[in-house]
């Protein structure tokens, strides 16, 4: 028997002993050899350690997996039962929501309808008589009466405020723009705007929020395409 064969046999014996696969005589013989051979004992200990590590980890996983799997299966069963119950309920003679509400409302339908009609009548009357100006809302937009003398496209350079320009002629609801006084606004508590919808023309645009000591100010940045600076174009 070569050394290799001996080593292999030793290893097989170790495994067999560790696994409890030896008969009584073999076990007795091997235990005698263990007492003599410290290296063999050390190897047996190593096998024990390895087995504990591997088996322990696997057992730990094995403990979890069935439990998790069991819970998963149970959840699926629950869901299936609930679904079937709902299907059975809906397939049954379950009345619609209106059918269930109507018996409550039917006795009171007439008085409620009468009261609602009276309330609507009162609202209409109040609205029609409350604010005289509402009854004369102009059909057209709020344009000045004077016929606009359409001015050509304004020059690109913005004049200073001292220039008295003629009134802007496009559908402006402000009479005598040259005499318009600026509106006074109070200091707001917040400048933050809620932009519900936005469309950019040109190339693109974006929205920014500027933080300040008085809160947030919404800034919408637009991008204009290049246009001729000199507005010499005429209509």
């Amino acid at each position: 028997m070569s050394d290799t064969d001996t080593t292999d046999q030793k290893y097989l014996d170790l495994q067999a002993y560790f696994d409890g696969e030896m008969d009584a005589a073999e076990r007795e013989r091997f235990e005698a050899e263990l007492e003599r051979d410290t290296e063999l004992r050390s190897e047996l200990d190593d096998i024990g350690v390895m087995r504990e590590l591997v088996v322990g980890g696997l057992e730990s996983e094995a403990k979890d997996v069935p439990q998790a799997r069991f819970e998963q299966i149970w959840d699926e069963i629950d869901a299936t039962i609930d679904r079937d119950a709902r299907l059975q309920e809906s397939a049954g003679t379950r009345p619609s929501i209106w059918a269930r509400i109507m018996p409550w409302l039917r006795p009171a339908a007439l008085p409620m309808a009468a009261t609602a009609a009276a309330a609507a009548f009162v609202v209409v009357v109040v609205n029609s008589t409350g604010d005289p100006s509402n009854t004369e809302a102009p059909v057209a937009s709020n344009e000045p009466v004077q016929a606009p003398a359409q001015e050509p496209a304004p020059s690109a350079e913005p004049p200073s405020q001292e220039e008295a320009e003629p009134a802007p002629k496009l559908a402006v609801n402000n009479p005598a723009p040259a005499d318009e006084e600026p509106v006074d606004f109070d200091v707001p508590d917040s400048n933050e705007a809620e932009v519900e919808r936005i469309e950019f023309g040109g190339h693109s645009g974006h929205i920014e929020q500027l933080e300040g000591s008085r809160g947030t100010t919404t800034v919408i940045w637009i991008e204009e395409d290049d246009e001729p600076v000199d507005s010499e174009r005429s209509l």
Binding site: N173, F185, N191, V229
Partner: protein
């Protein structure tokens, strides 16, 4: 079954007693108040030229109401600001009010609604050539400032400060 019918009748009677008066009084009480607060608004567009040309003061006193915003880092690239124009717009709910600024840009405003604290506005901006630059619906507190920046100008950029309040 009899008890159910009786219960239904009691519930329906109770429902009628509660809802009907509420309809009668609530409609008359609430409707006029909301209508009055949201029917008209005053807006104003302040156009400001943002320039890289250095001037002192950087922010003139007539633009003090925008000082906090113009001092933000976002505008740090500009060395001076100049008030170009203030243009008021009077809005009536549902009607569009348009006006052309001296820079050639055209604003259009429509009062969509609001109350005594906030306004809801539709705003549109066209370029000098009539090209759409912006179209937006927004809500803002009364007197709140919304800024539209980036308008084209030969000497820099135009910043439009829009303020609105319900009247």
């Amino acid at each position: 079954m009899t008890k159910t019918r009786q219960t239904n009748r009691l519930l329906s009677t109770g429902l009628a007693l509660v809802i009907a008066p509420a309809l009668a009084f609530g409609g008359t009480a609430l409707t006029p108040a909301i209508a009055d607060a949201a029917d008209k608004a005053d807006c104003q567009v302040t156009s400001v030229l943002a320039s890289k040309e250095k001037k002192d003061p950087r922010i003139p006193k007539e633009l003090n109401f925008l000082k906090e915003q113009l001092e933000n880092d976002r505008f740090a690239a500009y060395n001076s600001f100049k008030l170009l124009e203030r243009k008021p717009f009077k809005l009536t709910k549902g009607k569009t009010s348009k006006g052309k600024m001296k820079s050639g840009h055209e604003f259009g405003f429509t009062l969509l609604g609001g109350d005594d604290k906030r306004v809801k506005i539709h705003a549109s901006l066209l370029s000098k050539s009539g090209k759409k630059l912006l179209d937006t619906d927004y809500g803002i507190e009364n007197n709140g400032i919304m800024i539209v920046g980036g308008g084209k100008h030969p000497d820099g950029k135009i910043i439009f400060a829009i303020q609105c309040k319900s009247v």
